[in-house]
């Protein structure tokens, strides 16, 4: 048996022996995935145990170094772990912006001390993070941000406002961009800093969205404080760190386009089939085929990129492509699902609609934000045209 197959069978045995029964088959329930943090609030109490069990094995951050609580696994092994979790329909042990954004950033730019201080708290699910980038007057034009951080001994004093801080109302700490220099090039006066939100100077207000949910917040800073030792990278050198983190974010949002509901099955349910098995509406069938083919092509492109990275290629500005195409794909998919469901896809409440239908109405509304958050589609196209194609101006 190859090493990989040994790993697979050991992992499988361990999962079968240890995973809580209550979480099996719950992979697609968003509320079954632990987000960790100082004050977690779980629909399934078993989530807490599951997080601890997985963290102890290093399975919350499978490819991170073991010294920070990671699993030290290869990409192939991590992929096997994921397959086995999927097979048992188990949720991952942990999710959140610690794992997907600030963690990778610290691994790349953090000092040894910063890594030792923060990474174990991420892999162990002890601290839940959120991101403080956008401001009311600095959306797509991120570098024009104004939240001020002023040095006071070994601390910075922070004043200003962040917006679109995803999950800020549940987060313990925030990684944020602050202005530490107002003269000169605007990119050159930005500092990337970690701030504990459990202090009087930080106030969070959820924003109600068109979908009826509040995944984002406004976050206000009034003389909030953070240690200078929590600056990542150089003071006034935060823009470099910020861009690297945006790459992680783009990869994460672009990756959300992964298929869930099968479109052909949905088509069969709502449109019916002809005698030869083809969907009864030829136009929607054609659109479903286009959608499936676009998703297949995108998947092949993600794979091609991953294979290139594995053989040594450095990730570059072309990652904008994944954010751009992945989110547009997801939005088109949600629209197509509505077209398939026809008027059944319009429901907000009432007995005439199934739960799936009501969930999808909201998912469609939520999807409309995909091409705005994490850098708008327009910003991604700007990055491609200037930094990949080298077009002037």
């Amino acid at each position: 048996m190859s090493d990989l197959e040994t790993f697979r069978s050991e992992t499988r045995s361990w999962l079968e022996a240890n995973a809580p029964d209550a979480l099996r088959g719950k992979r697609n329930d968003p509320e079954a995935v632990p987000w960790g943090g100082r004050n977690p609030n779980y629909k399934y109490p078993e989530c807490a145990d599951w997080l601890d069990l997985m963290a102890a094995k290093g399975f919350t951050a499978p490819t991170w170094p073991t010294e920070y609580g990671g699993g030290g696994l290869s990409r192939e092994e991590a992929s096997v772990l994921d397959q086995e979790l999927m097979d048992l329909e188990l949720p991952p042990g942990l999710t959140g912006f610690g794992l997907s954004m600030i963690g990778p950033t610290l691994l790349q730019y953090g000092t040894d001390q910063q890594k030792q201080e923060h990474l174990p708290n991420i892999t162990g699910g002890k601290i839940r993070w959120c991101q403080g980038y956008s401001e009311p007057n600095a959306g797509s034009d991120l570098a024009s941000l104004a939240s001020a951080a002023v040095r006071d001994g070994d601390e910075f004093v922070i004043n200003g406002q962040k917006i679109w801080t995803s999950g800020a109302d549940h987060a313990d700490c925030i990684f944020m961009l602050t202005r530490t220099e107002t003269s000169g090039k605007k990119q050159a006066g930005i500092t990337f800093i970690l701030v504990d939100m459990d202090q009087d100077g930080v106030e969070v207000r959820p924003i109600l969205l068109v979908s009826g949910a509040s995944p984002f917040c406004e976050t206000f800073f009034r003389n909030a404080r953070a240690k200078v030792s929590n600056v990542i990278g150089e003071i006034n050198g935060g823009w470099t760190v910020a861009k690297a983190l945006l790459t992680f974010e783009r990869n994460m949002i672009g990756g959300m386009a992964a298929a869930r509901t099968s479109l052909p099955d949905l088509g069969a349910e709502y449109l019916g089939r002809n005698d030869d098995g083809s969907l009864a509406d030829p136009i929607l069938r054609d659109e479903i085929a286009q959608m499936e083919m676009d998703a297949l092509s995108f998947g092949l492109t993600v794979q091609r990129n991953a294979d290139a990275v594995k053989s040594g290629k450095q990730p570059g500005p072309e990652s904008s492509m994944f954010k751009y195409y992945g989110t547009e794909l997801n939005m088109r998919r949600e629209q197509l699902m509505l077209s398939i469901r026809e008027q059944q896809g319009l429901g907000w409440e009432g007995d005439g609609y199934s739960t799936d239908e009501l969930v999808q109405t909201r998912a469609w509304l939520r999807s409309r934000g995909n091409s705005i958050e994490g850098g708008t589609s327009e910003v991604q196209l700007n990055i491609i045209s200037k930094r990949v194609l080298g077009l002037p101006g």
Binding site: G139, L209, V210, Y270, Q343, G347, G352, L365, L381
Partner: protein, 379 residues
């Protein structure tokens, strides 16, 4: 036909727009939603609209109507679209009202049409069923004669403004197979009748589109037996064109707000309206909206002036397909160009986007209309 407003029409358009736009109209729509109004509209505003004569626009003057046509009706619905006004103008006046005027006996007109014009009563049309993909000929609800009266059995779906209506015009099968165009008859079922249950359902636009369950409910025949299909089809076309007017008002308003935003919002040290990529997209929307204005006018005048059925269908299908596509394009682009703020509940653009999706699918989406157009044109 002339594709231009005459002075009387221009004045009507202005009055309608002024009325619909007073009192922060979109906020009124949000308020109705937040109050979880089951009715989905404001009876007080509806009553004002009746006082202005809107409820009588298309009906003969001897019935108390204004004796105008669809050319005028679309001016009303356009102004309501601008303001996202949810009052049941299309469902009660244009859709149900047209059927009563076309098919009703003198008694039926007195019982239903005159109170509609006076703003005292309203009917909703229950012509659809679940999973019938917009096809009005696909009708499985049946009507049987029992003791000299008719008894209806079946479930009608997506009854627009059906909740709390005073009655429903119901399409039911009196002969033929499930999908035959012939063999459909129309009935009036009064609210409160035994065996008629209408359950409230809210759509994403916070308006109601109900399910009407009929379990042997008594119905009064409207028009002849088996011959309801063509009249229903024409009434749907009239309601469709009125809805096109509403969509036109929505795209004009959403577009204007977006252009305004492009002129004021700054990013990267410049007004975002200076970015050529956005300029070109705005210009493309402008062209689509100009086409919408023409097709709405064209379809409304065709209904008023031309008796040829295949020409009527071609014009209506064309108008609906184009307005459906454009209302989705423009509200999506409006949201994207507004950026994050457009996604918030407190901002109006989201309300336009939600209503746009409902309009797109009501009376058939663009793909359905292209099929209908092709059939009418013999290919």
């Amino acid at each position: 036909m002339k594709l231009i407003l005459d002075p009387a029409q221009a004045m009507l358009a202005k009055t309608a727009s002024d009325f619909a736009n007073k009192h922060d109209p979109v906020d009124r729509q949000r308020q109705l939603r937040n109050d979880k109004s089951e009715l989905g509209y404001s009876p007080a505003v509806w009553s004002e609209m009746a006082d202005l004569g809107w409820t009588g626009i298309p009906f003969a003057e001897d019935l108390g109507g204004l004796g105008m046509g669809m050319a005028e009706a679309v001016l009303i619905s356009e102004s309501m679209g601008e303001a996202l006004a949810p009052e049941p103008f299309i469902s009660a006046v244009i859709f149900a009202g047209s059927l009563i005027e076309a098919l009703g006996t003198t008694e039926q007109k007195q019982a239903w049409l005159q109170p509609t014009i006076e703003g005292q009563k309203r009917l909703a049309v229950a012509h659809q069923e679940q999973a019938t993909r917009f096809d009005p000929a696909h009708c499985t609800t049946t009507a049987e004669q029992v003791d000299g009266g008719w008894r209806l059995t079946g479930t009608k779906a997506h009854v627009i403004d059906g909740y709390d209506a005073n009655g429903w015009v119901v399409a039911a099968r009196t002969s033929g197979g499930d999908r035959d165009e012939d063999g459909i008859s129309l009935f009036i079922v009064a609210a409160g009748a035994n065996g008629a249950t209408c359950t409230h359902q809210a759509r994403v636009d916070s308006r109601n589109a109900s399910t009407l369950v009929l379990a042997g409910a008594p119905g009064e025949l409207l028009g002849g037996v088996d011959g309801g299909g063509p009249a229903l089809s024409e009434a749907i076309d009239r309601a469709t064109v009125a809805l096109c007017g509403e969509m036109l008002g929505m795209v004009r308003e959403a577009f204007e707000r977006t252009i305004e935003y492009l002129k004021t919002r700054e990013q990267f040290g410049a007004k975002i309206g200076t970015f050529q990529a956005l300029q070109h997209r705005a210009a493309e929307m402008f062209v689509e909206i100009e086409l919408c204005k023409s097709v709405v006018m064209g379809a409304a005048r065709t209904l008023d002036e031309d008796g040829d059925v295949s020409n009527r269908i071609a014009q209506v299908a064309n108008a609906k397909a184009r307005c459906s596509d454009t209302v989705i394009l423009v509200t999506n682009e409006a949201l994207q160009m507004h950026g994050g703020v457009g996604m918030t509940d407190e901002y109006d653009i989201g309300l336009f986007m939600k209503r746009a999706r409902v309009c797109e699918l009501t009376f058939g989406d663009a793909s359905y209309q292209r099929n209908r157009f092709a059939k009418a044109q013999g290919f």
